[in-house]
Symmetry: C2
Subunit: 172 residues, 2 copies
């Protein structure tokens, strides 16, 4: 079955973005093959704040974000607010349905709150962190909270020496 | 000059202990040579909460904590509260003095608040994380806050396959 993978860059102190969604602390390591990474997925999942941030990035850098069918989860947005994306107000139901379809893996793009909801519904299969050697001191946590501890298993591991980024993939 | 190294175990979501100081999520990987690690240090630094936790561990497991000259930083404790340790109410001054002395490296044992104070005073030389594949969901953060971003350099890196623990050492 296709997997839902929470694949994000994370600072050493556990943030996936700065307090205002900043991602300028993430180095573009020349040895990371982003094209190959994108090819592993055919669907992207975003919470409302991640969607807002993605829209801002696209507005500022036309063509920066590779196109991929995208689901946005929000109880306040309307479909008209999400041009080019599919809006859902029920992440658990929609993601369970998506997992049952044929396809490539599903990219849980962020943020931490959506990760928490899907984790608690046991819909996340892997956590992939590109651990970046920076201390942000504040920002958006990779996981804001969780009702009970979860132990994961290491599946993959690679060091990118040029930027000191450590890539780790864990399964649940 | 001897270095101050913040050497701690950290959960994937950035905590160095559970909400009540729990450390039972840290696996004892048989391939990690704790004896060799301890031998690299001759001085240990603790904030007040870490000291309380260390005292509890010693009370429950006599002999569990290897002896090492220990400095406790607190503005509320009295020296009589810290049997076998040296109390200071000025971490920056005391640690600067310790670094100027001859000796082995200095173990910044925890917690995050003491790390923050010493980091802001530019007294920390290395951050060493044993990243443990567990999501705690809540607890004591490795770094509660920081005024400005800090970029680090990867110095050392090792995977412990039996427990999936990734050890990384960064310099400041």
């Amino acid at each position: 079955m296709r997997r839902v993978r929470y694949s994000v860059a994370m600072s050493l102190d556990g943030y996936i973005a700065g307090p205002n969604g900043e991602y300028d602390w993430i180095p573009m390591d020349p040895d990371i093959d982003f094209g190959a990474l994108f090819k592993q997925f055919d669907t992207r999942l975003m919470g409302r704040k991640s969607w807002d941030e993605a829209q801002r990035v696209v507005a500022e850098n036309p063509g920066a974000v590779m196109e991929m069918p995208t689901y946005v989860f929000s109880r306040t947005l309307r479909q008209a607010d999400c041009p080019g994306a599919i809006l859902s107000n029920d992440a658990v139901k929609t993601v369970a349905e998506l997992k049952a379809l044929q396809g490539k893996d599903i990219w849980l793009w962020g943020g931490g709150e959506l990760f928490q909801s899907l984790l608690e519904a046991r819909l996340v299969d892997a956590v992939e962190l590109a651990i970046v050697p920076v201390l942000l001191g504040k920002g958006i946590p990779m996981l804001p909270a969780l009702g009970k501890r979860l132990t994961l298993e290491l599946e993959q591991h690679r060091l990118y020496r040029k930027t000191g980024t450590v890539l780790v993939r864990y399964t649940l």
